[in-house]
């Protein structure tokens, strides 16, 4: 029954509907908490709209200038060390919430981007250069440097394991 509904309306719409239902139920039981949640939602939306515009422009440029072949060369099977560097650097410089980048990554995956590089990109989103001073303020230089270096190294470990496990699943 649920599967049929999801197939009919789409997964995205089903998630949206569930979230809306959550707000309705919250509103019935605690209206003050509902207004708090809506205030948080508005704050989130105001923050992410400019980032969404940036993502849209990046996707548009990627669609315009990069053909599937060139994306495969940079981020596909034979991309090697350069592919890792592009994914790591891309993850670090990209801004905004992680889910804002799913459409672009989905698009690149269809064009041949490896799972390992997608995983590395997503992992490195934890390193945010503009936020490093804040981390230094709370935890000190030693901690910030050590954590950042380990994050980059472990992003490669994460990517390699993800690639192996997803590949194994696909082969079965």
């Amino acid at each position: 029954m649920i599967k049929k509904i999801i197939e009919k309306v789409g997964v995205g719409e089903a998630i949206l509907f569930l979230a809306m239902m959550g707000y309705v139920i919250l509103g019935i039981f605690d209206f003050v908490l509902l207004t708090d949640a809506l205030a948080v939602l508005i704050r989130l939306l105001v923050r992410i709209v400019p980032i969404l515009l940036v993502v849209f422009v990046v996707m548009f440029l990627a669609n315009l200038f990069f053909e599937n072949k060139s994306i495969s060369r940079f981020l596909g099977k034979g991309s090697g060390f350069r592919g890792w560097m592009v994914a790591i650097a891309g993850g670090i410089v990209s801004s905004g919430p992680i889910y804002m980048w799913y459409p672009l990554l989905s698009d690149l995956k269809e064009k041949g981007m490896r799972d390992s590089l997608i995983a590395a990109f997503l992992y490195n989103r934890a390193i945010k250069i503009p936020l490093l001073p804040m981390m230094v303020h709370y935890f000190g230089w030693d901690f910030t440097v050590a954590l950042s270096v380990y994050m980059v190294l472990f992003s490669v470990v994460d990517g390699v394991i993800v690639q192996r496990l997803t590949q194994r699943g696909a082969e079965r």
């Binding site: 809306m20 959550g22 908490l33 919430p97 889910y99 934890a126 030693d142 496990l165 997803t166």
Partner: protein
Amino acid sequence: MVKTTHLDAQKQAFLNTARAFKKSLPILMGVLMLLALAEALIPKQAYRLIFSGNWFFDPLMGAALGSISGGNPLTSYIIGGELRQEGVSMLAITAFIVSWVTVGIIQLPAEAVMLGKRFAIVRNTVSFWTSILIAIVTALTLGIK
């Protein structure tokens, strides 16, 4: 002729981008709504009650808590800083900060739809365990608990 071809390419690229975006918007909106709901429902003080100072359970709990939370990394630093003031171990705080961004239970459905169910589950599981490993390695490197 060349100009027309270029315009066609631009139009096609714009349409492709708009189509991909249209597909993503309901999921993104749903995830945003869930995140806002979680932020409004879970008080920041709740985080302090969970950590006991145990060497094994603290990073595990830190990673678990970071996985179900999420949002701007800045918030994780602020919560981490507050937890540190409360005497919570850096092992737990490090796992919490790392998993906050690298693991996302709330956005898992969106990730599964966009990047594949298997990929999303594998990536989040691996990232969960590596956040604990990073916490341990960082603590060992710096000689902190």
